[in-house]
């Protein structure tokens, strides 16, 4: 069972629809007891870092997420859901989940934000999440902030938008992607399939 975290804010339906389309059973996680019976977790985030952290704390989801990750449950953070895996976000100065060491920064002022549209992901090393996906495939992005892990080897995918930034982060059972796999056509669906099926 693939659990999809719904903290009551965002448009999480598109991720859920994409996973259903791939024929995996899904369950919405809206409160702590929903974690029962979940094999893998997807955390699709939209909106503002600070508000979202407040909401997941309010619903008691933050401790359960950390617990699940420590227990080795495969975890995929998407967009803001990736950024919240870091220690801290400059977006309204938010303390985050601290799964990865490092923080979330805005693009330099000279760069047009949001970074919205298709862009290449350079695979820095082999990883099961990249299975059957050619290097430098295009994915769909919408974001104004990016993650910067302290340990560079955590960044397994890099994208150039005026500057190189980490577009895929991974360590042990946890993966984060800055793009929207559910909106990235074939390559995006392959990412979800790799996570739900083979990871």
């Amino acid at each position: 069972m693939i659990g999809i975290i719904d903290y009551g804010a965002g448009n999480l339906h598109s991720v859920e629809k994409a996973v259903i389309k791939l024929d995996f059973p899904t369950k919405i996680i809206a409160e702590p007891r929903d974690f029962t019976g979940i094999d893998k977790i997807i955390f699709p985030g939209v909106g503002n870092a600070r508000k979202t952290m407040e909401m997941i704390r309010f619903h008691g989801l933050d401790d359960k997420i950390t617990e699940a990750i420590k227990a080795g449950i495969p975890f995929l953070g998407i967009c803001l859901g990736m950024q919240l895996l870091m220690e801290y976000s400059k977006e309204n100065d938010a303390d985050c989940l601290s799964i990865f060491e490092g923080a979330v920064y805005p693009f330099q002022k000279s760069i047009k934000v949001p970074h919205m549209g298709w862009n290449e992901v350079h695979q820095k090393r082999q990883h099961p999440i990249f299975r059957n996906i050619p290097n430098k495939s295009d994915f769909y992005f919408v974001h104004s902030f990016y993650v910067k892990p302290n340990d560079e080897s955590d960044a397994i995918g890099i994208t150039d938008y005026g500057q190189d930034f980490c577009s895929v982060i991974a360590k042990d059972n946890v993966i984060g992607v800055q793009f929207h796999p559910e909106k990235s056509a074939e390559a995006g669906l392959t990412i979800l399939e790799n996570f739900c099926g083979n990871f």
Partner: protein, 251 residues
């Protein structure tokens, strides 16, 4: 990366196409057509609901739900959106963005409210522009029929200030004519704003798409009939773009 966006005009749940906003002809089922375009390398899709009735608008929400289930690229839905509630309904049904035209001219604060509530990235301001005898362009409303009196370049700047995330620029003069985008108009709007502009109206060939990318700094080119009538496929357009040095997605 430049985007190629097929546009589907939908009336009472069916894709139609007309010339100069008039003389409609049925083209097919929106969900099937959207799915085909998505599988063939479209970067995004735009649906314009041109239904005139409440019943037709309700049908559109069902179309959006079905498209959202089947299609895994971003899509925008415009046409007849008047209030923040309308926007919420369309986004809730699964659209990624909404297009707003007449309602923004009637009440510019709608763009501001919507951008604050749903985020600028979800708000596409549609500008239908028609050239006047003095060479300037006016913003047209009600499907290109009514002159608002607003200068299109000034209006585009205003929309950006209000928080629109993108501008979908349609040349009313070129729409359905298929002899190329209005390069002069497109350039005037692109140069006036920092937000991405989508060029629309007049595309008759792959060459027209390459031309608008070569001669203006638009983020995306939108086309309807050339794709619907299978005159040219999206892969062919992208191949031509790449040959001419235009950066597009896909291998």
């Amino acid at each position: 990366m430049k985007k190629i966006i097929p546009c589907l005009d939908v009336k009472d749940g069916k894709v139609v196409k007309g010339i100069h906003f008039e003389g409609m002809r049925e083209m097919g089922d929106p969900v099937e057509m959207a799915s085909d375009y998505s599988n063939n390398g479209a970067d995004e899709l735009v649906f314009l609901d041109i239904s005139a009735t409440t019943e037709g608008r309700k049908t559109m929400v069902d179309v959006v739900k079905k498209v959202a289930k089947k299609v895994s690229i971003p899509f925008t839905v415009g046409g007849g959106i008047k209030t923040a509630d309308d926007i919420g309904r369309i986004l809730e049904a699964g659209a990624d963005k909404v297009g707003i035209n007449t309602a923004a001219v009637d009440r510019p604060e709608l763009i501001k409210e919507a951008a604050e509530k749903f985020g600028s990235a979800t708000i596409v301001a549609a500008v239908d522009a028609k050239q006047m005898s003095d060479g300037t362009w006016h913003v047209m409303t009600h499907g290109g029929m009514k002159d608002s009196g607003l200068d299109a370049v000034q209006w585009a700047k205003m929309l950006e200030e209000l928080g629109a995330g993108e501008i979908l620029l349609t040349s009313v003069d070129r729409d359905g004519v298929k002899d190329g985008y209005d390069l002069e108009l497109t350039k005037a709007i692109v140069d006036a704003v920092d937000i991405p502009v989508i060029a629309s109206g007049g595309c008759g060939s792959a060459e027209d798409i390459v031309e608008v990318f070569e001669k203006t700094n638009v983020a995306a080119a939108l086309a309807a009939s050339i794709f619907h009538q299978n005159e040219v496929g999206i892969p062919e357009v992208k191949t031509l773009c790449r040959e001419r040095g235009v950066d597009v997605s896909g291998a």
